[in-house]
């Protein structure tokens, strides 16, 4: 059975994806990754209810209990301003996810239209856009981001921009490769025959058909973006205090960490577990989606 189109002329891949999803979940590690991510999202949403000390999570200091080691009241201890680390980490999940989602949206907003244009029109425009994208990809991305924030001044907004600049070309490439094959399909031709404008064809007919790979890619990128952003935060180039950013917390804890090891250790562990979960999910998804590997997967 080939891929079918539904009434709106979109390719019906629902069943295909369901099969893919089943394959993804066959691997216990992938399921574990997915579970952690769902837990993380829930934590971010419910932060004020889950955090034992929500005010401290938001940045309120409590100087009576400075640098308390982990105990029943503060399972992960407190930092130099007496704030409960667990609450900070829970609120940090919010910031990390929000920031990562913001980056993904910026990247999609820049990369996808450019990819659409490049793939749809081809020729000179295609050449210019893709060469520019290649040029950006030729730089070491973290270094480029550091240089950008360092020159523009450290704050969260600049960090988001700085991470997006080296990232969008991946989406342009991805979308372009899809568009190049999609634009030869019959539904595009018939849309053109009834007189649809280029813009309409691009956004109403072609774009909906490349959404799935974009979404998959965006999910997989989340982990790296979080790692990236927390690295910037660690350098003091991202989120600014008193907001609870995991990278910033690791860096704050550095001053004390030989004695008060818990501050940096737990906040760094939060970064690690999150990125680890996203990478596990990503590996699983890639295996399930790559037909060459899928065969190997089904056999066992």
């Amino acid at each position: 059975m080939g891929i079918q189109k539904n009434r709106k002329g979109r390719l019906n891949r629902g069943r295909e994806y369901w099969r893919g999803m089943n394959l993804v979940l066959k691997n216990p590690l992938t399921t574990f990754g997915l579970g952690v991510i769902i837990l993380l999202i829930a934590t971010a949403f419910l932060a004020p209810y889950l955090a034992p000390y929500p005010d401290q999570g938001r940045g309120l200091s409590n100087l009576k209990e400075r640098l308390v080691s982990p105990n029943l009241k503060h399972p992960f201890g407190t930092d130099n301003l007496g704030r409960d680390i667990l609450s900070r980490i829970i609120f940090g999940a919010r910031i990390s996810l929000k920031a990562a989602i913001a980056v993904v949206l910026i990247v999609i907003a820049i990369g996808v239209p450019l990819g659409l244009i490049a793939g749809y029109f081809g020729g000179k425009i295609d050449e210019i856009i893709m060469r520019f994208a290649d040029m950006i990809l030729a730089f070491p991305s973290l270094l480029l981001a550091i240089a950008i924030v360092a020159s523009m001044g450290p704050n969260l907004l600049n960090a988001l921009i700085a991470v997006s600049i080296p990232w969008w070309p991946w989406y342009t490439r991805l979308v372009r490769s899809q568009v190049v094959s999609l634009k030869e399909m019959q539904f595009v031709e018939s849309a053109r025959a009834i007189g649809a404008s280029n813009l309409r064809i691009m956004f109403r007919h072609i774009l909906p058909n490349c959404l799935s790979p974009i979404i998959v890619q965006a999910t997989l990128d989340m982990g790296y973006i979080i790692l990236f952003l927390s690295s910037l935060g660690f350098l003091g180039l991202g989120t600014q205090p008193p907001a609870a950013d995991w990278g910033v917390m690791v860096s704050d804890g550095r001053e004390f960490f030989l004695e008060q090891w818990w501050i940096s250790t737990f906040s760094g562990a939060a970064i690690f577990v999150t990125v680890f979960a996203f990478n596990l999910l990503g590996d699983g998804a890639r295996e399930a989606l790559d037909p060459k590997i899928r065969w190997r997967f089904q056999r066992t």
Binding site: L29, M135, I136, A138, F139, P140, L142, L143, L144, I146, A147, I148, A150, S151, M152, G153, G223, L227, S230, S231, F234, L235, G236, L237, G247, V250, S251, R254, F257, L258, W261, S264, T265, G268, A269, I271, F272, V275, F276, F278, N279, L280, D283, R296, T300
Partner: protein
């Protein structure tokens, strides 16, 4: 081949021009005044004005950019706004420390990553394979600065067997100082036969290079595993088994030789990536390398240093990529560059 290299080099020039333009524009839209930076705290207005003219900050942006490019073409990266020393000199002094770390790091990554990938492929879908894959994913997911701190707590604070920071023990450096020949402490001490210093330098290298190697180890193991899986399915491997070649030879000689290409490409990328990775490791271990030099500049808003380091690193990055591609083409007749 020659034409290919020329084309790639021209591309490199274009890429660097773009990078210069981006960092230049960004560094000039910041509200901070570079002339005031140059003078240090609390300058007088007429002083600032004088320096602004002297350094060319009064000119339009595109003329400043043209000046910068002109100097750059002579190998002049300008001078630091804070120390008033040439940027190139600063980079040159800090480079060996970083390179030493990176070279040892990439060796560790190759020595651990390749065997891990090979064994993982051999034992596909067994517990060994799952464990080693988990290990590689974990390595890729770990923030280097966090791993470095964990190492410090475990090996310095708890086990007390390794030093926490610097390139060499202060006492050792006073009693038997390292003669500066290459800037690589391990090499310099080897050449001069300074064994106490060598031992101290090596023990200082362990933790930083391990932290730096983690990410690359994961990537290399992953890459080796997936290419080995493909190679092991080829007919010539079956033939080799049939004629009774030992399994060890099949794995590590016959198969690995053909699987090495993508692995080495990955290693090249990793090595180039380490230039940025070393920033984080150097901060944690107070390692006097490029990372420390640059992060200091970032906090002081010393943009000639930031730009100079960015440009040189990008050059290095692109050059390493080119070199890896060329080496592969030389080593593997199946690859044709065009």
């Amino acid at each position: 081949m020659v034409r290919y290299v020329i084309r790639r080099l021209m591309w490199l020039v274009l890429v660097l021009l773009g990078l210069c333009a981006i960092t230049f524009i960004l560094s000039r839209i910041v509200p901070s005044d570079p002339a005031a930076c140059y003078l240090g705290p609390r300058p007088r207005p007429e002083q600032v004005e004088k320096v602004r003219v002297q350094l060319g900050f009064d000119k339009p942006l595109y003329i400043q950019f043209a000046y910068y490019l002109r100097d750059l073409s002579h190998g002049d990266l300008g001078e630091s706004l804070r120390t008033h020393r040439p940027v190139l000199q600063g980079i040159w002094e800090h480079l060996p420390a970083s390179l030493e770390l990176m070279i040892i790091g990439i060796f560790i990554a190759l020595l651990v990553g390749i065997p891990l990938g090979v064994i993982s492929a051999k034992k596909e879908n067994t517990a060994v394979d799952h464990l080693s894959r988990l290990f590689s994913v974990a390595n890729v997911s770990m923030p280097a600065f966090w791993l470095a701190m964990i190492f410090q707590i475990v090996f310095f604070r708890w086990l007390e067997i390794l030093p926490i920071m610097g390139r060499i023990d202060t006492v050792v450096s006073l009693v038997s100082p390292v003669k500066d020949i290459t800037g690589f402490y391990t090499l310099d001490t080897l050449i001069t036969g300074n064994w106490t210093a060598l031992r101290s330098a090596l023990s200082h290298l362990v933790l930083p290079s391990l932290s730096l190697a983690a990410y690359s180890t994961g990537l290399i193991a992953r890459m080796t595993r997936s290419t080995m899986l493909e190679v092991l399915r080829e007919d010539y491997i079956t033939t080799a088994r049939a004629i009774g070649v030992s399994e060890g030879e099949i794995l590590f000689i016959q198969a690995l030789r053909n699987a090495l290409g993508p692995t080495l490409t990955t290693a090249g990328l990793c090595f180039a990536y380490m230039l940025t990775g070393t920033f984080f490791v150097e901060i944690i271990f107070s390692w006097p390398g490029l990372g420390t030099y640059t992060t200091n500049a970032i906090f002081l808003n010393d943009y000639p240093v930031i730009m100079g380091v960015t440009i040189l690193m990008a050059m290095f990055y692109v050059a390493v990529n080119l070199l890896v591609d060329l080496l592969l083409a030389v080593a593997d007749p199946r690859i044709r560059l065009g």
